[in-house]
Symmetry: D2
Subunit: 313 residues, 4 copies
Amino acid sequence: MTGDGTTRYGYLGPEGTFTQMALLAWSASHEGEAVPFGSVDSALDALRRSEIDAAMVPIENSVEGGVSATLDALASGDPLVVIGEVNVPITFVLAARQGVTLADVRAVGTHSHAWAQVRGWMDANLGRAAYIPTLSTAAAAAGLAEEGTEQGYDAAVCAPVAAANHGLEVLAEDIGDTAGAVTRFVLVARPGSLPERTGADKTTVMLFQRHNRAGGLLELLEQFAVRGINMTRLESRPTKSSLGSYCFSIDFEGHVLDERVGEALMGLKRVCAEVRFLGSYPREDGAQVEVAPLTSDADFAGARDWLHSLRRP
Amino acid sequence: MTGDGTTRYGYLGPEGTFTQMALLAWSASHEGEAVPFGSVDSALDALRRSEIDAAMVPIENSVEGGVSATLDALASGDPLVVIGEVNVPITFVLAARQGVTLADVRAVGTHSHAWAQVRGWMDANLGRAAYIPTLSTAAAAAGLAEEGTEQGYDAAVCAPVAAANHGLEVLAEDIGDTAGAVTRFVLVARPGSLPERTGADKTTVMLFQRHNRAGGLLELLEQFAVRGINMTRLESRPTKSSLGSYCFSIDFEGHVLDERVGEALMGLKRVCAEVRFLGSYPREDGAQVEVAPLTSDADFAGARDWLHSLRRP
Amino acid sequence: MTGDGTTRYGYLGPEGTFTQMALLAWSASHEGEAVPFGSVDSALDALRRSEIDAAMVPIENSVEGGVSATLDALASGDPLVVIGEVNVPITFVLAARQGVTLADVRAVGTHSHAWAQVRGWMDANLGRAAYIPTLSTAAAAAGLAEEGTEQGYDAAVCAPVAAANHGLEVLAEDIGDTAGAVTRFVLVARPGSLPERTGADKTTVMLFQRHNRAGGLLELLEQFAVRGINMTRLESRPTKSSLGSYCFSIDFEGHVLDERVGEALMGLKRVCAEVRFLGSYPREDGAQVEVAPLTSDADFAGARDWLHSLRRP
Amino acid sequence: MTGDGTTRYGYLGPEGTFTQMALLAWSASHEGEAVPFGSVDSALDALRRSEIDAAMVPIENSVEGGVSATLDALASGDPLVVIGEVNVPITFVLAARQGVTLADVRAVGTHSHAWAQVRGWMDANLGRAAYIPTLSTAAAAAGLAEEGTEQGYDAAVCAPVAAANHGLEVLAEDIGDTAGAVTRFVLVARPGSLPERTGADKTTVMLFQRHNRAGGLLELLEQFAVRGINMTRLESRPTKSSLGSYCFSIDFEGHVLDERVGEALMGLKRVCAEVRFLGSYPREDGAQVEVAPLTSDADFAGARDWLHSLRRP
């Protein structure tokens, strides 16, 4: 917390982004101040410099996949950990200044990820409109609202809240090509406290392979399988050293305090060049982990007691 | 080929992109006409409609990772196959109109992927410059060169060839944060011919898991491991149906005509919901596949002959 | 068959052994002549020399385990194959000459395997009786019945039929320590014909590992697992070259004509130093093989057709 | 130890057996009294009743395989543990009373396991001689030496020391079919002390599978593989409940105090119905365990420290 005791939350701004919506959903139950940043990197840098207490950033989208900027920013630099997650349904509108009609639209501004998700609607309804990239969907809306400037586009693809914030008119609602699209956001903090174990937890790690290990990814996945742990996300990311050199960002069910998770992490620590622990935190949906048979804490504790009895007969 | 016998190659344009450089490298040994497209999607759509004969598109970058637009465009729609690959070293310059100096630069235009790769240099040398997204690095350069327009930025991050094409002055060379960055491009065609087996081949597939199979990715990777096949790239991509539902884009060593590859593909075909075969083609570097012991064609043929002798005693 | 058209079946004799009972069970549905042999080796040697057409020999007992003499005789020498199996419940009686009572018994003769299975009863009821080993349980009974000789024992542990054959009195019935004990016998023939596929089949192999392969037995078992094949028996046997050098005798569900079995056998052929195919034959109990999902012949045929379409686009 | 402080060693007797030779080899460095028993069972029973302090019993032979009586006696009943091993080269002689020549031999007495190992020599040199089973090789020799009795055989297959003990003449030396045959004996004790870790240790376990676990033996072997542990012996033994129900007797490299061994044992304890720990003890040959990369105690300790730091940030 800052000097005055208020928690300061950074987020990928400006106001009106889906990230802000994620933070609002979180803040409904957590007091604090919201601080917009121009990029994931700048938000996480501010967090590392202790200028803020936590940062809400997107990590994966059900249509577009992993968010590289977030995955890479967490994978290097001073350690940060995820302490919570929020899933936000993604709904796009086409918004314009008052008086502009669909027939008037010659160019559309939005973030490239949003553009990728509305291409079908655009081809069907605005086939001739040019695409102008913007820094965020909210920035596209803000640009339209600015007096006396010319952005090169007459309509924006953005969140409903961004259109409302800027007094824009909605020309078309729910124009995303994939119904039910969702983006998952994570709240990131500096290490120092570990969210409590709830029984409905996830853990996130980044695994770097040793080059001289045969088997590669298979060997890593066996560390989970042999302890009955279920993965919920796997992304490969280049290590930036050379083409074909990858690391893996993985979410799995369970908490670092779970016995089976602890043993799997130790196994990974041994066989990987590096394991970056990125936090254990409650699932937003509260779904209890289905513990595979024979992998409960009691099973592990029983096995440990038995081992102790063998070692001190 | 088109009516007049000329091969028409599409590429992710405009002129001056790294994709054009990849196509030029390919064309050095292959005659044909080059046709720029505004997006990966539009190039592959034209290919599917037989308006072009092949398309050069980026598939992975050593710093930024897999190119989602390409992976997703190959994963759905009418089948297409990779018939070749080209690796292009990625070198960025900062370019501006004649007379502009580094001190004059208030805003920089470029594609968001390029921006991600020069952030370190920018922070160190142009910390206060704003970032203006553009459709491509070449478009950023082209924008600067246009007479009588105002793009909102005074310098572009682009390939050296784009700066040269547009008569721009290079303010700084080689400004990428990662030395040795490389982008891998693939030449895509409609199915119909299979590149010859060279002994230095790669095969690309997209694997969709069955939901009711325990083991998941581990089971898929075992299909490769049990035949001694080495993977060179693995990317997970959302299937777009729901958060946490993934498919896998995989490159591995060997050609579909290799026995061990054929058996692995049959195994995958059985256990996956869908296997999309995206081609077998020669590696650009010509590195011969190191066939694991006991997995040569002769080993498979010997085993098959033996099996036949058992079945017809 | 022999010259006169009669099938000659060898068996581990003499008359009255459990092996003869197995052969009688088989012969109920197969005509032929029964020829006793003094050992498994001599029966199989006669088979190899074409003096008989088939041989019934024990292969595993539910209490005593694998029958080494049979496993080893099948593992070396000219190839032989199993063409059928018979399970025989093992019931032991204590038999003596007429007039002898339990209180009179000072020493008991029987085969060492039978002795091992009645030790509990003996300790409880004849704790002071000495044990005299004999060549077979039937030989123990025969010895008692011989006029004018002294065998050094006054009672025999044998099959009920052996006691009856030799006019002995049964002092105690069903004296085996393990209720429900069963011995499995196999009918062995020279290669040349393959029993038909019934859908309720077993296959027997002997696997010899390569010394330079890491993973060892695990690698062999994966060849079954990856094709969904269920093992029903695994015995390790020394290769006789040095302590700690083993081969594996394995029964598994399915027939060599099944696609999944064929592919598994080819995989084993590649990775093993030697695979000795010891036959595919119907299960005695007629239990249909539960084909694991995605491993039916149709699944394999579909995958093969698909592979062909990829290879000849 | 017994009341007077002398260690009492039981062994599979009588005098002159290979087991006695194993005990003599052990006793060269350990004081004590040797007590012969008529069977493995009776020796181990005496040990369980504290009538002796340790028992030397055979566990595997390089030609004949595992010794079922020992494996089964260790697998059930009150727990016992192996505290040492001795390997004895097996050399057989054919021995007879003074004056008997090879041409006089009509019948040969010996233990059935020994008979199996000299069958080749017998077929070549004494093809017509009958085989008379005896309780042990030493008993065969002793029988010949007994005055005034008739054993039904005129020559014995036994160890050279047994022939010498009984004043027999050696008709033929080194008649075993397999050169270099070795039997491995283990010294068994009641639990209570654990042999020190030497870096050249073996551990013996008996594993009982759960019936409802898919994967079976493969799952068990993975517990070793994932910790880089090398197995040196695997025997399947029937559980005696039904045909096809097995447990596994396994020796592997390492000591229960080794970290990797402890973790593997805990994993087995969880997934097995029962794990019977049968001791960690120094290898007779003193060969240091080759610890697989990344599986040393230091690797495990480092991983554990790291895990603790994650759990208490």
